[in-house]
């Protein structure tokens, strides 16, 4: 029997999980839904973004949640010429660590810069939120970051 007689078919496995987020991540996601980015104040006063429930150094509960950004600085980045399905943007973009104004830690998101030539570490970016009616308490409520207008 020829190999061409062998049947092939797509087979998709999908698990529709939903995850409990807890009080701190929950507050962060609630903030995103409201169009704000929140961080948690750690032991030394540094603001952790996205917030963790515990200070990563001391292990103690974090303190108050404080608003950061919305703008920030790209600390490092990688260009994604062919984004995969389900990624935030369906066009070439950069994955970047963004250190938001007032934050001590950088968060991962995508930057819609058009081309890798428009990217550099140290560049200023600002979030582009989805319209309020589309936001649902998810990291994707930030559609992407974009280069800050007028910034160099």
């Amino acid at each position: 029997m020829a190999d061409s007689d062998v049947l092939r078919a797509p087979h998709v496995l999908e698990y529709p999980y939903s995850r409990s987020v807890g009080p701190v991540i929950g507050a962060f996601l609630t903030g995103l839904r409201d169009g704000r980015i929140l961080g948690a104040r750690g032991d030394e006063g540094a603001v952790i973004v996205p917030p963790t429930e515990y200070d990563p150094v001391s292990g103690r509960d974090v303190g108050d949640l404080v608003e950061v950004g919305p703008g920030g600085v790209v600390t490092t980045w990688a260009w994604a010429p062919t984004p995969r399905a389900d990624q935030p943007l369906d066009k070439p973009c950069a994955w970047a660590l963004v250190l938001l104004d007032g934050a001590a830690t950088a968060m991962l998101h995508v930057v819609d810069a058009g081309s890798p030539e428009a990217m550099r570490s140290g560049m200023r970016v600002t979030p582009r939120f989805r319209p309020a009616t589309e936001r649902q308490g998810h990291i994707r409520d930030i559609e992407c970051f974009v280069p800050e207008r007028g910034a160099s």
Binding site: A9, H11, E14, Y15, S20, G26, A27, H138
Partner: protein
């Protein structure tokens, strides 16, 4: 929308390209013609359906193709009473292991046209297929099995297949 966020959807999705292999491809092509095709082991002469292309006992390729009957015996069963996400059949329903006449391996099938509390080990059944123009390369071509008017098979005739 003012309630705090407590959960987040995190669906996982993996896309495979499934290759059926030679034996299962033959089996599925038989299904698309409305018949069950098995394969016989040249060493122990057992007939496997659906065939996997080799005998798990003797470790040799099963090359002889065998057409099985449309009738068989319920070796064991389970009555499903619990609803679950994606369920397509009304509960309670019967999921049974069915040993086709001439086969030495039972496979899972749905039993219909019978109240769920009347299914028995040894019950004789036949396959009910979809309409001819609906037959395809899928087990959905077999709608279900239903009882036939025959005495139950004696336990000894299928005890080896439980």
């Amino acid at each position: 929308m003012s309630e705090p966020v407590t959960t987040v959807a995190t669906p996982i999705r993996v896309e495979y390209q499934y290759t059926a292999g030679l034996a299962q491809s033959r089996f599925l092509k038989g299904i698309a013609e409305g018949r069950f095709l098995g394969q016989r082991c040249p060493a122990c002469h057992k007939v496997y359906v659906p065939p996997r292309g080799s005998c798990p006992t003797d470790g040799v390729a099963t090359t002889d193709e065998v057409q099985l009957a449309n009738t068989g015996t319920v070796t064991t069963y389970c009555v499903v009473n619990v609803p679950f996400q994606g369920q397509s059949i009304e509960i309670p329903y019967i999921c049974a292991q069915i040993l086709l006449d001439g086969a030495n391996l039972a496979f899972m099938g749905l039993i219909q046209e019978l109240p769920a509390d009347q299914v028995r080990m040894g019950m004789r059944v036949e396959a009910v297929w979809v309409d001819k123009d609906q037959l395809g390369l899928t087990m959905a071509s077999v709608k279900y099995f239903r009882p036939i008017d025959e005495p139950d098979a004696p336990y000894e005739s299928f005890e080896e297949y439980l």
